[in-house]
Symmetry: C2
Subunit: 405 residues, 2 copies
């Protein structure tokens, strides 16, 4: 698969030895050849990593030239030294393109509570700078450099035709565990050559995250490092950068861009539980007919986080009582008689009582399909949410119980 | 181990064929020979089982003569028919001692969403009635009859000397998964021959549950059936039942009883995660120095429910970043610099930064001890909570992923 590359961005990644495994890409560099507007959405964890502190202090804003990313070390719970390391990473990344320290952003993921090896990081950034190019190969490398236990890199892109010409929206993300974004460790970076003001960029990104990255769960453990960044360099305008022209999208251009951004975020978000650690099912949960979106979100989250629901799905067990009871403790005030559950198209529960069904048939449907659908319908209102999660397998436990320190 | 039996209670259990396995005890009967006061604390799940609906409508109250318990079927999500089945169970149990239907209470646990086989239940109650006696053997049988995936039966007792003579407090409980009481499926039955009024019985039980059964987690999935009942028949008074005399504990008698009740509830509560499905560690989490008890409870719950913390403990991995980050997303407003983490006596994290420690030594300490201690200290206030939970092993997943329907 090839992606339309947004204009005036270059990519690179190197194996800098931050990950314990030999020759794994772990430092990625993205440079915008012209100054870009940047917006960010971050973890709401009270214990947040140094790069989160740094990026949050700079976004939304403009004039950005570089994003440096590393895997293998989260630079979280590392105190003052961690923050100064993150700032040094930004300074080194900015210097590769002649920019100032506050013109670069930092994304880190990996082990918590270990100081990041700055000598390796610095050498990695230098080596990456020498490889920067606008190519499919280096785009994929950059997406691979942010992977931890991910088994596949995650890229999504859209190309749209606006009034002034074509615009590209290209996103990369990582994440396979510690996934409970509100914003999980998930990292995302969305690049566009559209022109956006900082405030519009922030509004668009914040809105897109609500229904995408904030609607996924692997294990319900919220990370210290979750970050999604949007860079918009305006290079799609023939006149040059958005900053120079003070231009920003409006009208039908804005509507088309919003849709493309939402689609890219949704595709990346869904790719995370699809690659969830040990997962054998990607589960889509649709909750409809609630009084408020907050109610629908609580119900979906409660089902998505239940180990009993997740193990049942792993075992292809249509044990719907676990799903209905997870709805019951979601913290939403509702009438238990006003609830209908459909699993992979089979109606299992309606108005407080079981519906006769062929357990063997439903079990086979779960076993034979990696994609699983849970639909929970109420009639209390019009609010709805779509959520994506995984099953819970012995492999997830094995991956996370292995002694790693 | 033998338990002091409270006066005027008799016990029995039989294998009635409700569980699929042959000759497993699954119907238990407890009879008080004199009318007893009863109090109850129930699941807060909006989807609650028929026996919960029935017992909740009757407690607190007086005049109770019998409690019938079954395992193998939760009688939950079974609609109107389920409620009428629960009422019929109460009627049959009451009839064994010549009492009225509303003088008996019902506890059920097992699979959700399947109608309970009333013919087997009815035959079981009859058979149990013929075996009722005040003996250690039948007490143990009654505690076994309420077991589902429990590997051991759970009994705890205290005998205290009050102003008028000796009083006994004896509790039984079950639970190994679907454990997130607020009230998780845990069932508990505490019997005493002390005299209590219904309102005092309810106040004492409600208070005891807060720091005991509500402070345990196995998997964070709240059951539809959680119930703790307290029966007090006053038979320790030489004059006869509490009801006849209108007497209730006061002063130093009340204080001594409150302590004994709390100890019995705490011992039973802790026995549940100790027997958690697949668990290889019983984890005690002490959270201290919080502004409010609610804050301390949220932090303990967040750590206790994190699959990443639980799998790390299963693997003897002193991956303390997972613990600290779970504190961070507990939903409590606190200063991350005001947090200290001690694991099995080893200080690992202090004031926002790692503390050097020997990972091999801490790992060995986790591996060699089934009991694990996590202490999280803040200095924001004086509130504290003690919480008990399990690790998360591949065996838990296996037990719950096996196709059972």
């Amino acid at each position: 698969m090839t992606f339309a590359l947004p204009a005036a961005y270059r990519f690179a990644a190197v194996a800098a030895g931050i990950k314990p495994s030999v020759n794994k890409l772990d430092v990625s560099l993205v440079v915008s050849d012209v100054p870009a507007v940047a917006a960010g959405v971050y973890t709401t964890n009270k214990v947040f990593a140094a790069p989160v502190a740094l990026d949050r202090s700079l976004t939304p804003g403009e004039g950005f030239r570089a994003v440096v990313m590393n895997s293998g070390n989260a630079n979280a719970c590392t105190g003052e030294r961690g923050l100064s390391d993150a700032k040094e990473m930004a300074r080194l990344a900015a210097a590769t393109c002649g920019a100032e320290p506050n013109q670069a952003l930092v994304l880190s993921t990996g082990v918590i509570g270990v100081f990041i090896p700055m000598d390796r990081v610095a050498a990695g950034i230098q080596a990456a700078a020498a490889k920067l190019e606008s190519s499919q190969e280096m785009l994929v490398a950059a997406a691979q450099g942010m992977m931890t236990t991910d088994t596949v890199h995650k890229l999504a892109g859209r190309s749209i035709e606006l009034s002034f010409g074509p615009v590209r929206v290209l996103g990369m993300a990582k994440g396979a565990a510690m996934i409970a974004p509100n914003m999980g460790t998930m990292l995302g970076l969305v690049l566009t050559d559209a022109p956006l003001s900082p405030s519009l960029g922030q509004d668009l990104l914040s809105a897109a995250v609500v229904d995408t990255f904030n609607c996924i769960r692997v294990d319900g453990h919220m990370s210290t490092n979750d970050t999604v960044l949007l860079l918009a360099n305006g290079a799609a305008l023939s006149q040059g950068s958005a900053k120079q022209n003070g231009q920003s999208l409006t009208g039908s251009d804005l509507a088309a861009f919003r849709t493309a951004l939402h689609e890219v975020c949704a595709e990346l978000a869904k790719a995370i539980p699809a690659d969830g650690e040990g997962a054998t099912h990607l589960v889509t949960i649709d909750v409809t007919g609630c009084r408020t979106r907050a109610d629908a979100h609580k119900i979906a989250k409660s089902v998505a986080e239940s180990p009993l629901v997740k193990t049942a799905l792993a075992g292809a067990d249509p044990n719907w009582g676990r799903i209905v009871s997870a709805v019951g403790y979601a913290g939403v005030d509702f009438d238990p008689l006003d609830l209908e559950l459909t699993l992979n198209g089979y109606l299992l529960y309606r108005r407080g009582a079981p519906v006769p069904f062929d357990a063997a048939v439903v079990s086979k449907s779960i076993r034979d399909n990696r994609d699983t659908s849970i639909v929970l319908e109420q009639t209390a209102g019009a609010a709805a949410v779509r959520f994506w999660t995984t099953d819970l397998t012995a492999e997830y436990v094995r991956l996370n119980a292995d002694y790693t320190t």
